[in-house]
Subunit: 409 residues, 2 copies
């Protein structure tokens, strides 16, 4: 028999408890030993559950019970999760977590502590909820050198952008709808400003390239500035706007990493990822492009990923899983700074002057463009050029405003 | 040091040899022991390679060398691969294979022999080439009950259908192009008649539902009867035609399993899988839909999946991986026989008579249809009904031919 403790009984935590307790027979059979949920740590009271007797409020009980071999941390936030997880690992308990904030902030350190104590620290659920991606990346791509990871990593923003694309809904209305449906929090900042996606691309980059990247090293831009007409112009060019997290190993061995709204061609498989779904596109030097797709959040999906990690810990109770990376440093990250095609929108008080300047500066031979006389706007996709070159041209236009979006074209 | 033998030096086998030999340092470091390719079995001569000294023609040398702990079978075909693999497993050697024909025909038996001899039998590369799908299905979905698996499992047919859809190319021209590009074999039967996809859905179903399904139990239909106007009509309904392999656990605990050209809505993520790419969509009761996408074939992709399996065998040299299913039986498979929307094309010598009969028999209220007076055809998507009901209606039409395609709508 293996005893397990669950720290946190929120959305994910209650899901984990329910699976472990209600499907206990199936799970015990699969790991070939009885799995016993011994404690659930939460400061709140949960009366009337079939397992109400398991609740405790004092973390020390878990820490000091040598029976507990595996701990699931599903509290969220860095504190006190970090302190609790660290103490558990030091005590020789394996820990699994769905907490992306914790892994993005402290992953390298916690992995090292786990290694030193010959226990496992697993976090499949921290990226892509129920989508198996971290473990397949490590195991099945073992014989590959990963060169790039790109993903739609946040279901809330993807839902909002999708509503804008498909239903022509403006940003505020789509956000309100997402909140109403429970896809967005009351305070949606972490989602719509890209912070959530940023944490996930940090974890993916660390796994792919073996070095911790900290969230504050990532150039991060959310979707709040995307307007309905950006979405329409993109559609004219056969594209959709998605919030993409991207990490790429440059020839310099540095990593280019960002989160930003990106104009994605409908030819790209990522463009078909709709609603609250997430997808992670991994490029390996041998396999080429591989994509993992599924629900990036939600109680059942995330909880089942946590439970799968718990089961893996139980099966490997005396063996370490290979899943690690080094500490990061301030030198790891660099701009990729290569020629690229940019989506540009320019507008002005005088459409005629705008039109003339546009043709004089950008020509029209090699580029796609849409003119909107009524709005006094022109939107276009540039030829391949360094961003600085395009910006210089744009700055040379007189009495003209502009907006640039990056592309995957 | 661990010694490895490779049986077969064709497209995949040479790729495996190249990765293991040319990236030896990286791979040895990752598995924390030196990996030595001791033998390569092939009846042909391969002079002038940096590793020409490793070739042997006699299988017994591998079998009787106790040094060899892991064997990669990349010969293809059931014989003599089956005999060789069985003997290796019985001798206590772990075996990895990319041979879908072998796994689909003999998987349950070989897994059992591996279990009895406490060695591993892994075959990630047998489905989806370089796409990690079998292992993630087993491991990460451990806490799920899988209810359905659907996939685009054959790159050749997907390439052909894609050419028909995008470039308006007819079947024969697209096939010839695929052959020219090396995506289709000279004898394309196994691909275009669906046999290859059939083997793969057998393997996926076995893993998902724990029971071996043999290829001859699967209702299999290829793409040779798909015409360009079928593709066009599908497009009218917002759909594309894909060769889909599907397995589903019915409430009766029987499995509905088939391979057939299917009309897929552009809303479905599988519709965006283009060219030689493959994708496998797995539905779990907890995670919902999860999809794995990538190149389903190709030397590097498949070889890297074989090498990853070899590395996994080396890491688990004394431990069994949990990857198994039971023998199949004639009772496992059943028709799902539930109401469904069908794609139907009807044609006749008299368009007026056809039109009248169509309206009289099917009505037009709830269904989508396209009339083509010039071709004297009507294509439509039925309302939900049992296939037998729709067929009955169609058979009642006078002087009328029809064609039915199943849908995923």
């Amino acid at each position: 028999m293996i005893s397990v403790a669950i720290m946190g009984h929120g959305v994910v935590g209650s899901g984990v408890a329910e699976i472990l307790i209600h499907h206990n027979e199936l799970i015990s059979a699969r790991v070939k030993t009885e799995v016993n949920v011994k404690y659930i740590l939460d400061l709140r009271d949960f009366d009337g559950l079939s397992y109400s007797d398991k609740f405790i409020k004092d973390f020390e009980i878990i820490l000091n019970d040598d029976d507990v071999k595996v701990v699931a941390e599903v509290m969220g936030g860095v504190n006190p999760a970090y302190d609790f997880v660290k103490k558990c690992l030091l005590k020789g308990k394996s820990v699994v977590t769905s907490n992306k904030e914790l892994v993005a902030a402290k992953g390298a350190e916690l992995i090292k502590i786990a290694e030193q104590n010959n226990v496992n620290f697993l976090f499949e659920a921290s990226v892509g909820g129920g989508i198996p991606v971290l473990r397949p990346m490590v195991q099945c791509l073992a014989a590959n050198r990963i060169t790039e990871v790109s993903g739609i990593l946040n279901g809330t923003t993807n839902y909002i952008l999708n509503k804008m694309i498909v239903d022509n809904m403006d940003f505020d209305t789509a956000l309100a709808l997402a909140q109403e449906k429970g896809y967005a929090e009351k305070d949606p900042t972490a989602d719509i400003e890209g912070h959530d996606a940023c944490r996930k691309i940090c974890i993916l980059a660390a796994l792919a390239f073996g070095k911790h990247i900290y969230p504050d090293q990532v150039s991060t831009e959310g979707i709040t500035k995307i307007s309905l007409d950006d979405v329409e112009y993109a559609d004219n060019f056969g594209c959709v706007i998605k919030l993409i997290g991207h990490a790429e190993l440059l020839e310099s061995s540095k990593i280019s990493i960002w989160v930003r709204p990106t104009v994605v061609s409908r030819e790209c498989i990522l463009s078909g990822v709709n609603g609250v779904f997430n997808a992670i596109l991994v490029t390996g030097d041998q396999t080429g492009e591989v994509m993992f797709y599924g629900k990036g959040a939600g109680k059942e999906a995330t909880a089942s990923a946590v439970v799968a990690d718990i089961m893996d810990c139980i099966k490997h109770i005396d063996a370490r899983k290979y899943l690690s990376w080094e500490d990061g440093d301030s030198q790891s990250v660099a701009d990729s700074n290569k020629p690229e095609r940019l989506f540009v929108k320019i507008w002005s008080d005088s459409f005629e002057a705008l039109e003339k300047q546009f043709h004089d500066t950008f020509g029209t031979a090699g580029i796609q463009f849409v003119k909107n006389k009524y709005r006094k706007e022109i939107a276009f996709i540039t030829e391949e050029a360094f961003e600085s070159e395009t910006a210089e041209k744009l700055n040379s236009l007189e009495n003209c405003n502009y907006k640039i979006l990056h592309t995957m074209l």
